[in-house]
Symmetry: C2
Subunit: 353 residues, 2 copies
């Protein structure tokens, strides 16, 4: 499946079994710096190296430690220095092979190496395919917080090889499915129905995987194309993330992203339901059962509120939540008060019990 992401300039996304083979054709540059991590490299680095070399290109590979710690300005600095010493220049390309941490890091390096070089993405996790690979956001963390330093830098091409998902542990795969489900809630109810009917249970069914990932990418790509720099509509993608981020931060990231967002989606659903709007609670409880997330850390809501309000501070003075007014009809509520939040939290604990 080939999708066109309509940013400027537009770029192709290939979604298929064996998509990594496409790299030989879609990379225009003669020199390629491949950035990967220690979790992904043992599985996929050699085949990708061979594909690039067989296309007659020079390739050098850089493997960072797997894990969030590598998304740092220290790793960023090391990569830049290595690229210069290895003779890469403005006409070289950077290829990110791995999950969202690798593409965030390698993308920011690409955006800034000699003021910007072409970037290609080969995501190997479901989360990276449906989320980090689309939209051009790159970043590294500071000790003060996540994703605080970065750039918007669109790739020149993306290859999503669903065969790489076979090497992903099931809990990680399902964690990524939460963002796919979120895209379904925002704009494509059939995607939610497919997940709940078990469409993602058979990783060997590559045709089905391509179809669902493609549908999810389409939702995100359409939102992003309309609002590249996150001024308005792109904020819809934060559905479930206001509470999700607060849970992650308050629990010191002891939950995976998808787990925290699942609770966040339920919370946003309940906020909407309590206003008499669309009620996705039953579907979300089914998603929850399928994901079987680690339990909600025993946080008092009073502990979470400061984290929600820190999120708020980032975008000014309002406490904004994305809610579903009707099925697949998100809106941004700017008037959510504390009583509403406390009620939804009480309801969340109840539906989970």
């Amino acid at each position: 499946m080939r999708l066109e992401i309509r940013v400027c300039p537009p770029y192709p996304v290939w979604i298929e079994a064996g998509a990594l083979e496409r790299l030989s054709a879609i990379i225009d540059e003669a020199e390629v710096a491949l950035i990967s991590d220690s979790g992904v490299a043992p599985h996929h680095l050699q085949p990708v190296r061979r594909i690039i070399e067989q296309a007659g290109k020079r390739i050098a590979t850089y493997t960072v430690e797997a894990g969030e710690e590598s998304k740092s300005l220290a790793t960023f600095t090391k990569l830049h220095r290595s690229l210069v010493r290895d003779g890469f220049d403005r006409r070289s390309a950077i290829l990110a092979l791995g999950g969202g941490i690798v593409s965030d890091l390698a993308g920011f390096v690409a955006s800034s190496f000699m003021r910007g070089v072409p970037l290609y993405l080969a995501p190997t996790t479901l989360l990276a395919m449906v989320d980090a690979s689309i939209g051009g956001k790159t970043a590294v963390n500071l000790p003060e917080g996540k994703n605080l330093v970065g750039a918007f830098w669109q790739p020149k091409g993306v290859v999503m090889d669903v065969q790489t998902l076979a090497t992903l542990p099931i809990p990680l795969f399902r964690d990524g499915a939460v963002e796919l489900f979120k895209h379904g809630l925002l704009a494509d109810p059939s995607l939610c129905r497919a997940v709940l009917s078990g469409a993602l249970n058979d990783l060997a069914d590559e045709t089905r995987l391509v179809e669902l990932i493609g549908a999810s990418v389409k939702v995100k790509a359409e939102v992003v194309a309309e609002d590249v720099h996150e001024a308005s509509r792109r904020a819809f993608l934060n559905l479930g993330h206001t509470l999700g981020h607060a849970i992650e931060a308050a629990s010191n990231h002891s939950l995976r992203h998808g787990e925290a967002v699942t609770y966040g989606l339920l919370f946003a659903g309940l906020l909407g339901r309590n206003r008499g709007w669309y009620d996705p609670t039953a579907d979300l409880l089914k998603l929850c059962e399928w994901l079987s997330p680690r339990p909600l850390p025993h946080n008092d809501f009073a502990e979470l509120l400061p984290y929600i309000d820190r999120d708020k501070k980032r975008v000014g003075s309002e406490r904004r939540f994305v809610l579903l007014k009707r099925e697949a009809e998100p809106m941004i509520a700017r008037d959510v008060d504390e009583a509403e939040l406390r009620q939804a939290w009480k309801d969340l604990l109840e539906v989970l019990s």
Copy 2:
């Protein structure tokens, strides 16, 4: 004088005596992080702080050490961490007050802080006014070389207060005039004639300064607007810089930029003259006399050639020089051979002797 730089979106450049006062009106954001250096801050930081505060905005100031060492990823990292800790966010603005080192550094911070915040420039050196402030190039250095990590990031507004030039030592002021002269060679012969007739000798003649700086900014702005990402015409701005950069690198930056570029302009002029093209040698020797640069370091041409070719490597396999075919008619020569270079070098030593 108000110029409009026609990048997308366009932004205003104010050139006048007292232009710093404009900052209160042109900065839209409520929170301002001012970045300056230890050379400039004692002269201009307090007045600027007062102007911003009187406009009812919050301002915090960050003063880095004056000098090229501050254009590093270490300083970049420190500034980012300070901005977060001091509560700045996506809706804040960054204001660079100082020369090209400050605007390159602060500009790169602005391009990447929370993936990009508005940037305003208040250049206080002639070089920064006619060169670094226009065109959106930002960067820091690596131990491996200069300007290797950065971004294209256009400011939202620029104020060039010619009164700040009064605090600049004369040799530094004249060094900046070399880039202004270069703009004259490229597109505005009256600018060259004005410099050679002493128009920049009286720093108290603010009207004349505004006029000449404005004319120089116009030349660069027109080239940049046509070629924001330096794909083609923008390369004209490298007139004199191929040899200039080689001299700087080979002499370990013992010459100032303008000094090295003056020799580079003479060299490019001689290359063209030897082809029977436009001959600016007489004017450039007059410029040289006015500038009285430190002598050309006693480099054998064999020592310089590798540096010229390293510059070449950056843009592929050709050895490219910007030459003047006719007066104010630059072109890019891609076929300059070593014999031509050696002849021009011999001629350069001769005209300087």
